[in-house]
């Protein structure tokens, strides 16, 4: 026996024992990170087992260390939470499904964070939810070894299956009703008839549309023919003449406007001015004098007619 063999065997045995002990502890203690215990109580039948993850807001912070059956109808669960994580006050624990096959984990639902300061730089304001989750108090955490209150549990696979079962029952009832309505009460035939009637109606509509389309086509063709028959040169001349007439009318209108304005000024002068015409129109004295003059003229004329020689004395030679 060589001394070297003893050393090699010693090293081998030591390594094997260290690997065995360290590996077992690593698996059993869920790693070598320091942890502290927390407790929770759940109803029976939650399928909790050692090693299942404990998640705070979806982040794994520990694992289930021990599950004890409490005869009072509960499962007393000990969780090992990694030292680096603290659980805020107001947190509740529920058992949630992981995947479809009965895997479970413990979900810790933390309190709601306080509303961020309005206008704070880089903070997006969040509309507060309608749930009853309490708002976090700053720096308030559950002490190590405390019991986390239990929240409303997520529906289990059995409950989901029960719901699916009831839904499928209702679905089968609907299918049965449809079968009665459509098959037994000749609903399918009615539908067939309705479809046939609709098809016939559509055919009629199609025919009408075809006729209308034909008439429209003919009308358009007639319009096209009429349009083609028009002499474009004559039309141009007419349009030019109309345009010239329009221009003349515009010039005449402008001239009339100017004349009208002049007349307006003349009338204004007649009405308000000091001229002869104005005084003739506006002064009653002038009017009276004119009447008097006219009367005198009448008498003069009569006198002239009566006694022409009094006024005209024609002498020839």
């Amino acid at each position: 026996m060589k001394r070297r063999d003893e050393v090699i065997v010693g090293v081998f045995v030591t390594v094997a024992i260290v690997v065995g002990v360290v590996g077992t502890l690593w698996l059993a203690r869920r790693g070598f990170s320091k942890s502290y215990p927390m407790y929770a109580q759940f109803d029976w039948g939650n399928n909790l087992k050692t090693g299942q993850p404990v998640e705070l807001a979806g982040v794994q912070i520990g694992s289930v260390d021990q599950v004890t059956l409490n005869p009072a109808g509960y499962l007393d669960v000990t969780m090992e939470i990694e030292k680096q994580w603290k659980i805020p006050e107001g947190t509740s624990a529920t058992v949630q499904n992981e995947g479809f096959f009965g895997d479970k984990s413990i979900a810790l639902h933390p309190c709601r964070r306080p509303q961020p300061t309005v206008g704070a730089e880089g903070v997006v304001p969040v509309t507060p939810g309608q749930d009853s989750t309490p708002v976090c108090r700053p720096n308030a955490f559950l002490p190590a070894g405390d019991t986390i209150p239990t929240g409303k549990p997520a529906p289990s696979m059995d409950q989901l299956l029960t719901r699916v079962d009831s839904m499928s029952g209702q679905l089968s009832l609907i299918v049965h009703s449809l079968q009665v309505e459509l098959v037994q009460k000749n609903g399918v035939q009615d539908i067939h008839k309705t479809i046939e009637s609709t098809n016939a109606l559509l055919l009629e509509l199609h025919k009408v549309a075809a006729q209308q389309s034909e008439a429209l086509t003919m009308t358009l063709a007639s319009i096209r023919r009429s349009a083609a028959a028009l002499d474009s040169a004559a039309l141009d001349t007419t349009v030019h003449n109309v345009a010239a007439t329009t221009r003349n009318l515009q010039a005449m209108t402008a001239e009339l406007q100017r004349t009208s304005s002049r007349l307006d000024s003349v009338v204004a002068q007649v009405q308000h001015g000091d001229g002869t015409v104005s005084k003739m129109l506006n002064d009653p004295g002038v009017y009276n004098e004119l009447r008097t003059l006219l009367a005198r003229m009448d008498s003069l004329t009569a006198d002239v007619k009566a006694n022409p020689k009094k006024y005209f004395n024609v002498k020839v030679f």
């Binding site: 690997v19 077992t24 087992k49």
Partner: protein
């Protein structure tokens, strides 16, 4: 102790010498008697061998110095083979498991399945079967050759107890080193399984380690160690015994070696089933 202590055949009056009407019945009863006696004889020889080992335990000055060498032969020298086997088992188990998962199953199931497979079954069992081939065959051949070359008789002549000198060191080495090898095999299998799926598939380190820790209880490791201890002891005892009772000639050594490997393999499987039968209920988390 010599081979004559364990005679395999007794002398009987030939069946042909009896009257013809009696021959069939006599032949049948003689066959039944021979088989029954043979079974009990084999058991008796092994019990006697065990008793000799118990007796030899009282002579540590003879076997203790030789144990270290056997521990090196059985444990240290077998590590490369056991490690390669464990690495491939862990890697292949993990890789295959990934592709057996259908949608909805968590990827951590890979770590859990690899741990359960390697720790509870594949680690101890395949390490033991590999050792039955590598170490057990060597043990039987060594002791068998010493038997056929009458070295064992020479030891007896020199007042050495051949059981204490040859069998005890191997038994102690098997008893202690196979569990050590099993621990290392399990560790290698789990590590290589993890490396394989992390490198080659979408499984992440977190998934794998989460699965490894899921529903783990230390008794699972104790269970593997209990198995490994039983397997190691069986390999050492069976292979030493088969070598010790080797009949003359090189052919006898070969026959004993093959017989030792076959018996120890079957016994390992039987013990595996028995331990599962009795201890598996205690593995529930």
């Amino acid at each position: 102790m010599s081979a004559s202590v364990y005679p395999r055949h007794g002398g009987h009056r030939p069946t042909d010498s009896f009257p013809i009407p009696q021959r069939a019945a006599i032949k049948f009863f003689r066959t039944v008697a021979q088989v029954t006696i043979g079974i009990f004889l084999e058991i008796g020889w092994r019990v006697h061998f065990l008793r000799e080992i118990m007796r030899a335990m009282s002579e540590p000055r003879t076997w203790l110095p030789l144990t270290i060498k056997q521990m090196k032969n059985i444990g240290v020298d077998s590590l490369p083979l056991a490690g390669i086997v464990a690495a491939f088992i862990g890697a292949v188990t993990a890789y295959q498991t990934v592709y057996q998962l259908f949608p909805g199953v968590q990827l951590s199931a890979v770590g859990w399945i690899v741990r359960q497979s390697v720790v509870l079954e594949l680690g101890p069992l395949l390490t033991a079967l590999v050792l039955a081939g590598r170490v057990g065959a060597r043990m039987t051949a060594e002791i068998g050759t010493m038997r056929v070359t009458e070295q064992i008789d020479a030891l007896e002549t020199l007042a050495y107890d051949p059981i204490a000198y040859l069998v005890m060191p191997r038994t102690i080495a098997g008893l202690t080193m196979v569990p050590m090898l099993t621990i290392l095999s399990i560790a290698i299998g789990i590590v290589f399984g993890g490396l394989t799926v992390i490198v080659a598939t979408k499984v992440r380190m977190t998934d794998y380690t989460t699965g490894l820790r899921l529903t783990f209880i230390p008794f699972q490791v104790y269970y593997a160690l209990i198995k490994a201890t039983l397997f190691g002891t069986s390999i050492a005892l069976i292979c030493s015994y088969e070598g010790y009772v080797t009949e003359t000639g090189a052919e006898g050594v070969g026959r004993s070696t093959a017989r030792a490997v076959v018996i120890s393999s079957v016994v390992i499987l039987l013990l595996d089933a028995l331990t599962a039968l009795y201890l598996a209920p205690a593995l529930a988390p």
